[in-house]
């Protein structure tokens, strides 16, 4: 029997009379790599905020087993503040300062070896994203949740970041949940795809979801054509 780390039952969320999420049900087994896709305003970030405990006035039941590490979108960082890389990572273990010893090793893992004293404000988008990943990992979470990690990162940086995620997952036996706008990448890299637009449109192994069914949700053709390529390739291989 599967060991589920997250179980969501009948989850609904409204702001005043506006429905943000409606009757969502899913289970995420330990070690899964889930990509959540959906158009703007689909409630993806709201779902993440509910999972990390930032929004609590929802309807339904959420059961999270284990601790969560969280990599947010960039916007919350004030790059003007002279915070050094090691201090930034330290924020992730604010309640247990003993973890400070892990910082050099962790920076090595995310490819920022020896950058402890670099100012965060001088780092590139990709470096900052990897630093946020180090901050999320320092408390050794069981589940890692990422909200659009590709935002503000160039193409090279994106590819490197996804590789890093795969490696970290296999090394640490993590469960990863990632919101992304890069549908092609989600279909290639994630084991499971969840498509959200207020309700859960589909949820299953990436190779079993036909991107044609999702076309209506994504007007941006370029984004989903890679998903389609991937789907067709997978199905050819299967035959």
């Amino acid at each position: 029997m599967n060991n589920y780390v997250i179980i969501v039952e009948n989850l609904s969320y409204k702001i005043n009379d506006t429905v943000i999420l409606k009757n969502i049900n899913f289970k995420i087994p330990e070690g899964d790599f889930v990509g959540i896709i959906g158009p703007n305003g689909a409630g993806k970030s709201t779902l993440v905020k509910i999972l990390i405990g930032k929004i609590t006035d929802f309807e339904g039941k959420i059961n999270v087993k284990g601790t969560i590490g969280y990599v947010p979108q960039f916007q919350s960082i004030n790059r003007e503040v002279p915070i050094k890389a090691y201090q930034f990572v330290l924020m992730g273990t604010y309640k247990n300062q003993k973890n400070i010893e892990k910082i050099p090793e962790l920076l090595k893992v995310v490819g920022l070896s020896g950058r402890e004293n670099s100012l965060v404000g001088n780092m590139s988008g990709g470096e900052l994203q990897r630093l946020s990943l180090a901050r999320a990992l320092i408390s050794d979470p069981d589940i890692l949740i990422l909200d659009e990690p590709e935002a503000g990162v160039d193409q090279m940086g994106k590819a490197k970041f996804y590789e890093l995620l795969e490696k970290i997952q296999s090394d640490r036996k993590l469960t990863i949940i990632m919101i992304s706008h890069d549908i092609g990448m989600v279909f290639e890299k994630c084991k499971t795809v969840m498509c959200l637009n207020k309700t859960l449109h589909c949820h299953g192994p990436s190779e079993k979801i036909n991107p044609d069914e999702l076309k209506i949700l994504f007007p941006d053709f370029d984004l989903w054509i890679r998903a389609k390529d991937h789907y067709e390739k997978e199905h050819k291989n299967g035959e």
Partner: protein
């Protein structure tokens, strides 16, 4: 020539007090600038005016009452912005004249109205006495101690408030502590710089330090050095040109920053 100033007790005290108020303002300045709380600093100064008026009217120490009115002002802003979702700047814009009006009405009932209103609006360094100096020293050490004690919390709060909260930093407490520090700092320097001119002392050193600092610690040191130099130059200039010290210090600070902005882009 400088010796002349130090011959007189009241000038010595005034000079020393302007240096100390430079430090008291500089300690909080980087935090105000990084968190874009400039308007709060200014508003708090106006709120302190109501406290000054109550103090004068009741003939009791103005500092205690001013700290209370300044903190009350900050808490009301938090209340309106959290509870009623009113933009923080709108709340300040609304409350600032309210506190000023309370001050003016109370002062109009007091016999000292005319002479005192100008000295508190624009500062009167020559009114400063030894108890103000001791109060400034107390404020500086308390602020430095609190900022040191909460250095990580404040740093995380400034750099990434949302994530600091996620990782367990009590950001509401940090915000309240900072608002109290701003209030106390404002009240300690209001007699020297005046309510209207106080903003320059609170904001310019932070802007200067932000451009040069390489660490969170150095940002405070640079802001303090800036205000110490400016307060000294401004004070000496005002003595030799025979003009009011408060506005001279403000202008010295602004022109120094202007020159710095041309040198360092």
């Amino acid at each position: 020539m400088v010796n002349e100033i130090f011959q007189y007790d009241f000038l010595r005290i005034a000079f020393f007090a302007s240096l100390l108020s430079g430090i008291a303002a500089a300690i909080i300045s980087p935090i105000i600038v990084y968190k874009k709380m400039e308007f709060i600093g200014d508003g708090t100064a106006h709120a302190a005016f109501a406290g000054l008026a109550i103090g004068l009217f009741l003939n009791i120490d103005y500092r205690f009452i001013s700290i209370i009115t300044a903190i009350l002002f900050s808490l009301l802003i938090s209340f309106f912005s959290n509870r009623n979702k009113i933009n923080e700047n709108s709340a300040i814009g609304m409350l600032l004249p309210v506190f000023m009006s309370i001050g003016v009405i109370i002062l109009s009932k007091s016999s000292t109205y005319v002479q005192d209103i100008t000295s508190y609006l624009f500062g009167d360094i020559l009114l400063v006495n030894l108890s103000d100096v001791w109060f400034l020293i107390f404020v500086i050490f308390s602020m430095a101690f609190l900022i040191y004690l909460f250095r990580y919390e404040i740093l995380f709060f400034l750099a990434d408030e949302e994530m600091a909260e996620f990782y367990g930093v009590n950001t509401k407490l940090v915000r309240t502590i900072l608002l109290i520090l701003i209030s106390v700092s404002v009240v300690s320097i209001v007699k020297i710089s005046g309510i209207i001119l106080l903003g320059a002392l609170l904001i310019i050193p932070g802007l200067f330090a932000k451009k040069l600092s390489r660490s969170f610690f150095s940002v405070f040191i640079l802001a303090i050095i800036y205000n110490l130099i400016i307060a000294s130059i401004g004070f000496l200039l005002s003595y030799y040109l025979d003009v009011s010290p408060g506005p001279t210090i403000v202008l010295a600070s602004f022109f120094a920053f202007l020159i710095f902005s041309f040198i360092k882009k």
